[in-house]
Symmetry: C2
Subunit: 689 residues, 2 copies
């Protein structure tokens, strides 16, 4: 049951798509307190065994207890443990224990979730403004509550199937030839590849919707050339529009008042990659439509996917901030500074980026009302991506365009996926990736993934292999790395066979992964789940954070520690362990319910098939275009009749709901023997019981 | 067997105490290559199963494979995974596999250890200068090699027994009353405490060997007052000496040329906490003696221990660096900066600290020879602590003074312990602490530990409890935290009973821990060992990095993950699990060899007693002064006669080698029944078999 409450006079976030009456009951489960400052605080007394799920893209574990989180979309590339904010604001938590209850704080401004940080057993939620909505959901368990929540926030964005191929990125591939070289090396080494990303340097002077003539003199041809090799190019779009006379996007924006304004009505200026920029007012419907229409120029060049970046929005500096620093430096004697002076000047400069004063220094035009940015901060990236998504619906009514964003809010999940931003080549960030995936799924962000191998810092061969071995199972499987770091394309670490093999597993799994992803999208369900959601009565499973259920048939247990030759795994039921070395090289072992230690070599991927489930595998290929989905190999763990319903479509049109988009795989007793039955050709059945 | 090699003409580091002939054999096991640049490179081709131990205070795991480390003592408080240098330089590694071989690069300048970072199976060691010594050690296994190495580097520093008590620190307790309050709260809550630390603010203007009159008007009396409550005060000493007319240390140093010089012979200036300072030339024997003699003023006030800090040496800035920044800023147009300009100015300011140019900008007088600092950088903190240690031997010939340092080099282990510097309140740093302890032991640093609860960032109750539950087993058990962070004294997290209980376990264990520590010191052995050192034939044990052997009787397996209610543990043999809730509240369980999952509540400490071993426990107390070591309780896991030899002395004099400093505990068959026999009173025997 879902109860809705209104506080003050919030602007419409459109996070919730379902019309609902306001509840007349008092808020259940939570204590509600209005402080003298006017802030409303919601508290919940947790019992020792309560788990708190949720918060989507947030730091730390699956169970969010023991820390404090601030929902305030933040560009901070150093995700160390003490950080309270990442790029997204996903204000949905579920307390799971003797009582299970979920709460969604639909608030466009900052919300603080103190989940046992200040007091070990107290959950305390504090919206920073008096205007918001609250939804309280009860249900039989956490999974039930998540499913109820997902029903009211609308269907998740659906990516094209090619976006399940392996994707390679770098800040930045600088020109056509560099990209040709990357693609050539992937193809030469037989390592699958479906897309190459264009980071900021493909543009002319970092201007959105431009392409550098010098670096890409024949962009449209180049897009087609790559496409003919099975490779899509995916350009980045940044939030800030460069201030430059003669630049159409800038001039149109100024002319039509499409940019965010200062209090005095002038266009707000923030320094980002291009230097001084204006921010499109994505909360203004007209501006949103206008910005969205700009993607057309790249679609017309044959582009089929985009990533929206810097849309927290990130600011390196503002004029206001710079002036403050200048004034400060003027009054400092740098001839004989003490340490404090040095630190203060340094802090002043570091503090230039993403200043709260600057977020309070510009305004949005929301249906004619001027609203200060900080009050609606968390909607910015959301509405940038909505701007693109709504435009794509008009420009390409029956074609799926790949779209994912860095910043997000619940609601944005209907318009695009997310990647988890600027992580690092740290083993702990591989673990963070593992722990975050199901939280993202709870909040509707199904098409998501992290920068595999890590964006910042230098990746080592072993970290790359282990991270890929996990990335196989995330819808967005992209290797991305930063300027100045070690090159981390898969062919750069020696002995490329291991990389080819690991990616071959991904490509064999794509029909299954895509099917599970699509069913989750279409049914407002989760594709990636914690064990506790599938085995709610299993107390041990409740404590497991480093294993995941991927769709209905399999469980994974990635290795995320350097120099580990295996790991402990808990099986909530008997399972068939398939250890893949490549799509075709596999070992099988039936393991009993309970804890196990499994050895996993650096070039192996363990997959656990659940009892009475089957896993269909297609033949691997070098890109999704070449994928043959008419012939399958089946691995089944059963001694009885079982079925698997596979979702399958053309992967690109929007004819999702066609009932013909399903096919059956069955294990059936025929002449007293179990065999595989399907409309597909079954080339091999590996049956275990 | 140990072979010694000489390259170029290195200065004497005194890391090695044993006289040895140069080897006439070529270097065995390693390939040696002299590059055109004059650099010598040592490489070793690792097999897949080789483990590389060593490097003492270094980042990442127990097995150092898969990363690159630079031995260059560095003040960097943000120990994230990509960092290559921490505060110490411990150039000893052991490759353990089919062949086991150790190598010590006795080099005072930077040495790079690329342990499979560039090429997965290649270990590559590159000293940055042509002058150094190399020691190659082979032996039957890694432990054997470590023991050989320890024999040639001399006996480790021996701490007083009171330093095994629990110690509380903060940057900073600002005055007498604040300290009285901390002690009062510890005592009121019955939480044991043996020492309070004085961080930089106890000084007058951050001047070494001064005490602020305002904050501590009657320092000597206050030291005595605390001492009467069983609490020692431990002041910090920084490397830099404030430039201030009338300050005796400054004036004497200038007068006698005891400070490091610029190339032009002027005294080198670096900005640190006091502002502009000079660095004592600890490599100059006269300066070292002089600086050491200064500790007397605090010893005379009744002080019995010190910590040496900022001795990498850390520099916030130099005049040379500041001038460069000023010149740079002068030429930058900050009226309309692009992002690069902003970043560059910021980087310039951040780059002011610990600049390599500055380390190349001053000189030491080593036996009359002027040697540029960067060539001997890693000896600086070492010789600061040596200066203190040599002085203590003169000033207090028969009293142990507590001494530990932040920066260190092998050789310094004879003069003091170390703490592991400015860590953070991160769960990953609890794990780093666990993984580092045995590496430190390999390099001779037995009296060591990390800032429990974490120095930077805010600690949560659960992290504090789990970290204390590990800290129980480290010789230095100190809770320390930074200015501006959440107060992390044990009484600040509510429900103090849990803290009191956990510390009661420490105090019951002190006789055992102290005994194991002393035996390790006296026999050049390790107190804290990886499992693989005790069970070299056990392949599984070789992979375990998060369990440790503590002395001869016990193994520990700390919980280091947030919200975990237990953990997996591997038992290399049958063991008795004793789950302590307090020194007196315990549960017992015999567990078989192999992997297990054990549940460990937040207020529990699991200890594994080895087969045929016993663990003596004394009664807990609130400070070591009150410890009663005449009466013991024994927990034994045996069905046969066994013995335990306990080292025991007065804990403060230097009469270590007295053969009377040992007493026996035996489990013996008497009248067909096993009983405990000792010269001590055995108040209880808990016998399991």
């Amino acid at each position: 049951m879902i109860r809705k409450y209104l506080y003050g006079n919030p602007i419409e976030t459109s996070a919730i798509t379902e019309e609902m009456e306001l509840s007349k009951d008092p808020i259940p489960y939570f204590n509600e307190l209005t402080l003298n400052s006017g802030e409303t605080v919601f508290t919940y007394q947790m019992t020792e065994s309560d788990i708190v799920y949720g918060l989507g893209e947030a730091n730390r574990g699956l169970n969010k207890r023991g820390y404090i989180y601030e929902s305030f979309c933040t560009d901070d590339p150093n995700h160390t443990e003490e950080k309270r904010s990442l790029y997204g604001a996903h204000n949905f938590v579920v307390i799971s224990g003797m009582i299970s209850v979920g709460i969604f704080i639909d608030c466009a401004a900052k919300v603080t979730f103190d989940i046992g940080y200040t007091e070990q057993d107290t959950l305390k939620i504090t919206p920073s403004v008096p205007d918001f909505k609250v939804y309280v959901i009860d249900g039989k368990d956490a999974y039930d509550i998540v499913k109820q929540f997902r029903k009211i926030i609308g269907r998740s964005y659906i990516a094209p199937r090619w976006a399940f191929g392996f994707q390679q990125s770098r800040w930045s591939y600088m020109n056509e030839d560099e990209i040709r070289e990357v693609v050539r090396k992937y193809r030469e080494n037989g390592i699958p590849l479906d897309a190459i990303y264009l980071d900021i340097d493909y543009m002319e002077g970092y201007k959105d919707f431009t392409v550098s003539d010098e670096r890409f003199p024949n962009f449209k041809d180049f897009v087609a050339e790559m496409r003919s090799q099975g490779v899509r190019l995916v350009p980045i779009i940044d939030a800030g529009v460069k201030i430059e006379d003669g630049y159409d996007v800038y001039e149109e924006g100024v002319q039509n008042n499409y940019f965010c304004k200062r209090e005095d009505g002038s266009d707000f200026v923030a320094g980002v990659w291009p230097g001084r920029t204006h921010f499109p007012d994505f909360l203004n419907e007209d501006a949103r439509k206008w910005f969205g229409s700009k993607y057309k120029v790249l679609l017309d060049d044959g582009i089929e996917g985009f990533w929206n970046d810097m849309n927290e929005p990130a600011m390196f500096y503002t004029d206001e901030g710079l002036n403050e620093v200048k004034d400060y430096i003027k009054n400092v004697d740098l001839s004989n500074p003490d340490s404090e002076t040095i630190f203060k000047v340094k802090d002043k400069l570091s503090g230039l980026a993403n200043r709260m004063e600057d977020y309070c220094g510009f305004y949005h035009n929301v249906d004619g009302q001027m609203i200060r940015h900080d009050k609606v901060h968390n909607l910015f990236g959301y509405n940038m991506t909505r701007s693109a998504g709504e435009a794509f619906d008009e420009l390409e009514p029956n074609k799926r365009i790949l779209m994912f964003s860095r910043s997000s809010y619940i609601g944005m999940h209907r318009y695009g996926g997310i990647w988890t931003g600027d992580n690092q080549s740290w083993w702990s960030h591989l673990l963070l990736n593992i722990k975050m995936m199901s939280s993202l799924n709870m909040c509707g962000f199904l098409y998501s993934g992290a920068d595999l191998g890590g964006f910042g810092s230098n990746c080592t061969r072993d970290l790359m292999l282990r991270w890929l071995a996990f990335g196989i199972f995330t819808p967005l499987m992209r290797n991305h790395s930063a300027l100045g770091t070690r090159r981390q394309e898969c062919y750069n670490f020696g002995d490329t066979e291991d990389f080819k093999n690991i990616l071959s597993i991904r490509y064999s799994l794509i029909p299954y992964l895509y099917s599970e992803y699509m069913k989750a999208c279409l049914n407002d369900d989760m594709m990636i789940k914690p064990l506790s959601f599938e085995y709610p009565a299993d107390d041990f499973a409740r404590g497991v954070e480093d294993q995941l259920m991927i769709g209905e048939s399999i469980m994974i247990a990635p290795v995320y520690e350097q120099n580990a030759n295996g790991r402990y795994v808990y099986l909530p039921e008997d399972m068939l362990l398939v250890t893949f070395k490549s799509s075709s090289q596999r070992k099988y072992q039936i393991l009993k319910k309970g804890p196990h230690f499994i050895t996993v070599a650096l070039n192996e991927v363990p997959v656990f098939i659940r009892k009475n489930k089957l896993l269909p595998l297609c033949r691997t290929t070098i890109c999704t275009d070449n994928m043959d989905t008419s012939r399958f190999e089946i691995i089944a763990y059963t001694n009885d009749n079982i079925d698997y319903t596979m979702y399958e479509d053309d992967g690109i049109s929007k004819d999702y709901d066609n009932p013909n988009n399903y096919c059956q795989f069955s294990i059936k007793k025929i002449d007293d023997q179990l065999g595989a039955v399907s409309s597909k050709t079954i080339v091999k059945l590996s049956l275990f019981n």
